[in-house]
Symmetry: C4
Subunit: 260 residues, 4 copies
């Protein structure tokens, strides 16, 4: 068995496709956004990726049928001249070890490079350590030109955010992508870091929609966001009843910025 097995399911010819990467991480922002995107635009599965760098695990569906832990590559053909062909990478896990992260990212970039990819957008959550009402989308990119392009679309480039850089696939696809002559952007939705965050995923998708000239309905994410809000506020109420009031608890804690 190869260290990374790429099981191609169908042949496809794509025209300079853009790769979108949305793997599990902070607030599940990237995974939520990429899974939503692939469903919203009815993308087609192109390949399933298995690897010894993932956990040795299979999932069991409600029907009792298993599937092995994987990453999956979907494609989408442009519906108008303004759109771009897309490849979307989603999955259950990132690589478990540092070596695995590098090997997986490189192998997948090799595959998409052969399909013509020269441009990558990775999605991520940016943990602020406090609740965020209106999440901004922060950015990082492989060139000043890309930074300028993204600024015009409302992406925030902030000197001290993220301070420690990008850790995991959302950063590695940019870095190793440069060895494949790819230009890339990381889009990070602000999130508390405490909850799954559909609102942050929505903010990231709004930026992606303008980048890619796509239009699709985001109301399902909004519904999910309201649900999470309800759960969070109920938790806060319970906490408030149990604990005596703490004046400093009302202030946002802004010192926990971290990327995932």
């Amino acid at each position: 068995m190869d260290d990374v097995v790429v099981n191609v399911l169908t042949k496809v010819e794509l025209n300079k496709p853009v790769l979108i990467v949305g793997l599990p991480g902070l607030g599940n922002v990237a995974k939520l956004a990429a899974d939503y995107l692939k469903d919203a635009i009815s993308a087609t599965k192109y390949a399933t990726i298995y690897s010894k760098y993932f956990p040795p695990q299979v999932y069991v569906g409600d029907d009792g049928v298993i599937r092995m832990v994987s990453n999956d590559l979907y494609f989408y053909k442009a519906k108008s001249p303004k759109q771009r062909d897309l490849l979307i990478l989603v999955g259950d896990y990132q690589g478990l070890s540092p070596e695995g992260q590098y090997e997986l990212t490189d192998r997948i970039l090799q595959v998409v490079s052969q399909l013509g990819v020269k441009e990558v957008y990775t999605l991520a959550g940016f943990a602020q350590g406090h609740m965020v009402e209106n999440p901004r989308v922060l950015g990082a990119a492989t060139s000043p030109a890309r930074v300028e392009m993204m600024k015009k679309l409302g992406v925030v480039f902030s000197k001290n955010e993220p301070g420690s850089g990008l850790i995991g696939a959302s950063g590695l696809f940019l870095g190793i992508g440069q060895l494949y002559q790819m230009e890339s952007v990381c889009l990070m939705g602000e999130t508390s870091g405490y909850f799954v965050d559909p609102r942050s995923a929505e903010a990231v998708l709004r930026i992606l929609m303008s980048v890619l000239n796509l239009v699709f309905d985001l109301s399902d994410l909004e519904t999910k966001a309201h649900e999470i809000d309800r759960i969070a506020s109920r938790l806060r109420e319970t906490e408030a009843k149990l604990a005596p009031p703490q004046p400093e608890a009302s202030q946002p804690r802004e010192d926990l910025g971290y990327i995932g």
Copy 2:
């Protein structure tokens, strides 16, 4: 030394053999069942498997003679037209690391694939976190057809069990087996997770007996089960004497479901 060394001990021609996998795990259910099966049907050792993915350890027998940590493959030739040729995988350990789990499973599947295996049954324990009087056998499979087939034999397919999927060899043989065009089933005997569980192994073997049209005596497992029962009830008595009565302790704890 190869990462996985397969030491073949004898030549054998088998007719579409079925692979049974019973490696150590929760409640030792799988190992107990597979070891019992291979002895009950007097299976013959086909190959010994050594690997750097096992612990660097040798065992010393009562006679002072050592043997290295291994997995072992036994074969059984059908005694009647209703039976099937079998391969049975037993062993001291599963692979220590995630990578090791994948590498070992894949290498063994490669070997058995060359012997004609197209069908795999993996055995496992399913930890309920509380004592189980009459253990059910839960299932997972690679296709809806297999699920139906197993249901008819009394295997339970339950929506939320196992919630987190199958971890380790019992799942990987199903997942990687699909890459070898194998159809597979995992049979999980319910167990507390606190004791070695011969009663759960017996339940799993009863299913296997109908699947494979085998008949053999299970009384040794029943004897072992009674022994474990005595030990467990003596432990409970000692506990009851030492601790004051706790009303909630009488309720079963059903929240610890986990697979091994």
Copy 3:
């Protein structure tokens, strides 16, 4: 992707260059010194080294542009017959795992060996576990001849320092370098081990200046050293106010010697 990727940026012919190694470690002494050296002598970047043995991380610059975690090799051409051509290895990290340490060191030695390197100086911090006013530079070398040569330049060779040997790149470049017929020296600046230590880096650079017949201004390091002094003394004052006086606290703790 190769385990270690050496991205050569420019062609260069060097005359028996000396390799200087300054990677992160105790008190950041080696990194501070090597980074300072390469800037002070305006060395030119020769190659960038990426590896799966580094953390899966990219840095984001103030302009929003990323760069992947790396080690970097700079070169310097001698400006006078008394000087030597140099290669300087700096970087963000050492290899994460023992295997990674060996693989990275060996691969880099292979590259510099092809450029004609027969002589290596590795820089390091030597943690004393107490504040050091006038840091000595301790040494270790691959031959008695080198030891004598270094003693004449003021490097201290002390029977019990370092007791446990050299751990990490500063030692491995010496050890594996011998397999490439290289003669090497490790220069260890004494440091407390509690703070980044520009004063220790300065002491190491002074030795390097005489070894290599280089002259450059060290005042920036002195400025940094004064800053760290101010921070350290402010910390001590705060501590003194909070804690009752402890007579034994005024004595140096000399039992924490360790190399990095």
Copy 4:
């Protein structure tokens, strides 16, 4: 760099040499004995073994000269027809990881197999968890014939010792050696497990002397044993003064048997 580098220092022709393995472990019994043996019989260094499976470390001698962590292979030519040619493996470390243990053992067995080795003796300590006045030497072997041969020389084969088998190089050389058609014995000197134990090393060497028809002076080990005795009894006195008398402390604790 190969995963395991075998640096051969001299050519040698040996006549069916016996391999003795004495690497660091419990009570340092094996290392003490093998180092003592190679010095006592003035064995000659044949090869130095470096590996990425060892810690990334170099030692610094009193003269300031470094050497890399290694294992070392010495040879000894028989001085009389009753003696055997020998290879002795000593070293600073065993492999750090399970994979490293397997890879190192296999690679070294490959080297000595080419030199004609068909017989291996590994040395080890057997931790009893209590002070041992007159350490026995316990054994394990690859065949009943070897067990019988060793019994005649005073080696003890005990049903429940070692219960958990042999862990590390002392066991693996026996197990993997079988794949090279080698017959092997592990000689385990009883030791407390709390101190470096020259008396146990001496007991092991006495057995080796009769096995190999060697005679050499053991008085240096006895001197060392008396030193350790003095240190141990001083520790006990200090303990006795500090702690109130505990009746159960006077009984030997015999429940900690473990191999290294």
